[in-house]
Amino acid sequence: MTADPIVVLRDVYKRFPGAEALRGVSLDLPAGQIVGLLGPNGSGKSTLLKLMAGLYRPSSGTVLVGGRAPDRRTKTIVSYLPEVDHLYPWMTVQGSLEFVRAFFADWDDERARALLDFMGLAPGKKVGALSKGMRARLRLVLALARSAPLVLLDEPLSGIDPPSRSRIVDAILSEYRAGRQTIVISTHEVLETEALFEQLVLLESGTVKLQGDAERLRAEFGRSVQGIMEEVLA
């Protein structure tokens, strides 16, 4: 898979009043892999994903998604799962799906239905009435019901109950189109995602500390991804 990288960052800075979330990040993300974006809370993972999704603009430096700066066009190939509850609580589960589906040509109805089933979500229930874990499952369904070339999942497992976590990992894996889809998963604890990642990017305090092939790094460090994280981000 030596095609063009799907995401390119060159010397990207992102500053907020009183904080510098990303400092000089340069990164090439190869297409068609599951990428683990790892690092402690506050390391800039979320900010990085939001830049790719076009929700933030860099303070300086360039961000390219599919060769373009994030705009309306790049948003058609990006499926973004935020860490927060972003759905309308007054909509039903089915209503949320129908709303999002109206905007994306790559929406897959069958897959959406299958995922809803798999996640145990009742179509008629109001989003506001769902538990936190169920809302997280619904968000994931929305992110995976499309055949988007770039899928960005921001802490999909954080604060989620164990049964939901397993479901989420299983859903990600079963829907993944190896080679044709790039999935970037950000997390601060590796646990059940240990064997999922093909490519690792370790962030700390807004800079990239390490990037590379997961298997190669396992061999080099003689440690698990969790262990590598602990060692590099000591």
Binding site: I34, V169, L173, A178, A195, L196, E198, V225, Q226
Partner: protein, 139 residues
């Protein structure tokens, strides 16, 4: 990992500290050496294994490719992946794995400072105990 029914019973016990694709290959070899997999048996498709073991599909692909390159498996278009039909495969693999296991064991013992004689003694004693304790099949 590779069950008798070609993959429906999968228990993943991989060591996250070592390359996973290598462990898949090793486990495959072990399954063949044990007789759980025979030449011509179908093994889980890459997708099945990836989903059930929760491993990146590309990692599984890498393992399968190597196994194919090593002559351990063959993929028939539209039908799946099968253990290579080589009759001598079983014997070869068992021999290979046995040699590796012995080398590892001897190496460890030597590192602890035991002489060849001592190693032999201890091995005999251990084998005798196993015979008494059980039928040796479930270790």
């Amino acid at each position: 990992m590779f069950g008798l029914n070609g993959g429906t019973q999968l228990q993943l016990r991989f060591d996250p500290e070592r390359p996973i694709y290598q462990q898949i290959i090793d486990e495959f070899k072990r399954a063949v050496a044990r007789g759980d997999l025979k030449p011509g048996d179908r093994i889980p498709s890459q997708r099945e294994l990836a989903t059930q073991a929760r491993v990146n599909p590309n990692t599984v692909q890498r393992a399968y490719r190597e196994m194919e390159w090593m002559g351990l498996v063959e993929t028939l278009r539209g039908q799946g992946t099968f253990v290579a039909g080589e009759p001598a495969l079983l014997a070869t693999l068992r021999a290979e794995m046995a040699d590796e296991a012995v080398e590892r064991y001897v190496g460890e013992m030597r590192a602890l400072g035991f002489s060849s004689q001592e190693i032999l003694e201890r091995t005999k004693r251990s084998l005798a105990q196993v015979k008494e304790g059980g039928d040796g099949n479930d270790g």
